[in-house]
């Protein structure tokens, strides 16, 4: 896919988007509502025409061809099952249109794979949400498309069923070995299922990579905030010491690995995930603190909520920023109370730095599920 642009009147839904999806991978297109991910998907399916740009699968160009000419199938958000046909006929639809031999065997096999064999004679209206979802999936994968597009296919299911279907989708993908492109706004869903995630915002890809890389090394504030939570602390680059960059805070300094600092930028945002921060009761100083760790002294706990697995703290730094800290519940009576004076520390390897010229709060609270 290269330089894809789609505009609706004055509104640009997808802006100069280029990406390559490796064959056989489970690829997730992750982004908030209205970021253009569904439009991108529909352009791949041929249901929308790109205003400019091209789409290729392998070496053949798809741009301008009709949906039914593309080796691409879609699992629609609302499933779009044909209400007047049985489950079996729904699944057989694509095969029959291409006059395939062995329709019966192929359909029966896919129904078995998706555990729908006993429901084959039913109409969609007689199925539960989860079953309908499986029919939609079976109807698409039976055609063995080069790319299977999934448009928030789990959005309509309740949480428990969604988790279950995530496992099942992953299992089926591994079994059939097709390329899956999954569109979702649920970062947890994307992380559990995908090999590669592309984070999309306002019609552009913010960052693309394996889930762990995206999480540990976000390159934009949007990616940092949308995928999990991040503390972003404003700092100024002071000097380079070995493999680290030393950055000045209003009080004290922080080190960040050189490879994680954008080049040629002076004003940075040092990012650290809340669960990477440790709290210390004694007022340690930067000098006698844990070796190789960054420390921020003089913080005061202003909120503490115990949620079982962990305790979530809000710590106010000397310069007034609120930093989130998650401490694992490891059975030690190490709970801090509101008002405690603490020192925060974290490994320099866990920190990342972003260009401070961005919106610090981009990507926060975009996820409707989180609200």
């Amino acid at each position: 896919m290269s330089s894809l642009v789609k505009t609706f009147g004055p509104f640009t839904a997808v802006d100069d988007l280029s990406l390559t999806i490796p064959q056989g991978s489970f690829f997730a297109l992750l982004g908030p509502s209205g970021c253009g991910k569904t439009t991108t998907l529909r352009m791949v399916a041929g249901l929308e025409e790109p205003t400019s740009g091209t789409i290729h699968i392998g070496s053949s160009e798809l741009t301008g061809t009709k949906p039914y000419q593309r080796p691409v199938n879609t699992v629609f958000q609302s499933y779009a099952l044909f209400p007047h046909m049985t489950v079996w006929d729904n699944v057989a639809f694509g095969l029959k249109r291409r006059s395939q031999a062995n329709v019966k065997k192929q359909v029966d096999d896919v129904l078995e794979l998706t555990e729908l064999t006993t429901l084959a004679k039913r109409k969609p209206a007689q199925l539960s949400g989860g079953q309908q979802q499986r029919v939609a999936l079976a109807r698409a994968i039976v055609n063995k498309p080069a790319v299977l597009l999934l448009d928030e296919p789990l959005g309509a299911l309740d949480l428990k069923l969604r988790r279950q279907m995530q496992m099942e989708l992953k299992r089926i993908q591994t079994e059939v070995g097709l390329t899956f492109v999954h569109v979702t706004h649920d970062q947890e869903e994307a992380m559990t299922m995908a090999d590669t995630i592309a984070v999309m915002n306002a019609g552009r890809i913010e960052q693309m990579g394996p889930p762990a890389e995206l999480y540990e090394q976000p390159r934009t504030t949007f990616a940092a905030n949308f995928l999990g939570q991040s503390n972003l602390i404003r700092a100024t680059v002071k000097e380079r010491v070995g493999d680290s960059v030393v950055a000045a805070l209003p009080t004290g300094t922080l080190r960040v690995a050189v490879s994680r600092v954008p080049e040629g930028v002076n004003e940075i945002l040092v990012g650290i995930r809340p669960e990477k921060i440790k709290l210390h009761d004694e007022p340690v100083t930067a000098v006698d603190g844990p070796v190789g760790e960054n420390t921020i002294t003089g913080g005061r706990v202003i909120d503490a909520s115990f949620i079982g697995v962990s305790t979530q703290y809000l710590v106010k730094t000397q310069w007034g920023q609120e930093v989130m800290v998650f401490e694992q519940n490891q059975g030690i009576a190490n709970l801090n109370a509101v008002g405690d004076l603490v020192t925060m520390s974290f490994s320099a390897d866990h920190a990342f730095a972003l260009d401070a010229g961005q919106d610090v709060s981009a990507g926060i609270e975009f996820d409707p599920e989180a609200l």
Binding site: L47, S78, A80, H84, F93, G94, K123
Partner: protein, 286 residues
């Protein structure tokens, strides 16, 4: 949700014994006032039909079948016994079927144009379709008559057919358009995603899903055409007498029992057709 259900149940339990204590007929009427009114309305609606059916088994004294005399199957045994009636019935069926076919085809095409496309002048076309339904039948009938008279078109089967297609058309459009509007566009996208070209998508997905609307429109068109008197009367000649015209004439000269036989038969046929349609429709969607 669960809280409100629980309170609802409690009030019901609390109220139950009180209700049982004073169960006068008036209390029942008051509690079920909507149903009492609805039942009365249904009786009002159905009473004439009952009379029509009942009097098809009457053996009247004299020419008019208005008062009950005694039970007889004479009319049922000899349905064409009334002179001219079966000829009128035949003409009505012929016009009804032809008008239904033409109006259904034209109306379905129009409905697809309006339901599927946004174009300039769309609201003008909508108005053009709405207006015939808002025009009193005398106006429609008389305006057609002035057209035919000034162009020296002879009145008869053709002029009746033209008029019937006209007033059926709007009803077909409205019925089919509603069905098309209710159609999820994603179903057609799914079909084209699953390798069906435009023609296959239309014949295998769109048409089957819109079919109940087309069937309902056709049924409505036929019953409107078969039942019309006012418009027909303006555009018919003495030699082209439809069934309603025959009934109208007989109301002046004397009503044969056979007209009730036909009315009853049509009623039974139509209700059966609707019942089957409902049953099939429910099985299809379930």
């Amino acid at each position: 949700m669960s809280a409100s259900v629980a309170t609802g149940r409690q009030t019901a339990q609390r109220r139950a014994p009180i209700r049982r204590r004073r169960r006068s007929p008036w209390a029942f009427v008051r509690d079920n006032i909507v149903w009492v009114a609805a039942t009365l309305a249904l009786i009002y609606l159905l009473l004439p039909n009952v009379i029509v059916v009942l009097f098809s088994f009457n053996k009247p004294n004299g020419r008019f079948n208005y008062t009950w005399q005694r039970f007889s199957l004479d009319a049922w045994k000899n349905p064409c016994g009334a002179p001219g009636m079966c000829k009128a019935l035949g003409l009505s069926l012929k016009i009804g079927i032809s008008a239904t076919i033409v109006a259904t085809i034209l109306g379905t095409l129009l409905a697809f144009a309006l339901g599927r496309y946004r174009f300039r002048g769309r609201s003008a076309v909508n108005l053009l379709i709405f207006l015939p339904m808002a025009t009193p039948e005398v106006v429609m009938g008389s305006s057609l008559l002035t057209l035919f008279a000034s162009r020296h078109v002879g009145l008869g089967f053709k002029t009746i057919l033209v008029a019937h297609i006209l007033f059926c058309l709007s009803y077909v459009v409205v019925t089919v358009k509603a069905r098309i509007a209710g159609l999820d566009p994603r179903l057609e996208q799914a079909a084209s995603d699953l390798y069906a070209n435009e023609f296959q998508t239309f014949t295998r997905i769109t048409l089957p899903l819109v079919a109940p609307g087309i069937a309902a429109g056709a049924l409505l068109a036929f019953s409107l055409s078969f039942d019309d008197y006012i418009v027909t009367n303006f555009n018919a000649s003495p030699s082209s007498t439809t069934f309603p015209m025959f009934v109208w004439g007989s109301a002046q000269r004397g009503t044969p029992v056979q007209i009730n036989v036909i009315g009853t038969a049509m009623f039974v046929l139509a209700v059966t057709a609707v019942a089957i349609g409902q049953f099939v429709g429910r099985r299809r969607t379930r």
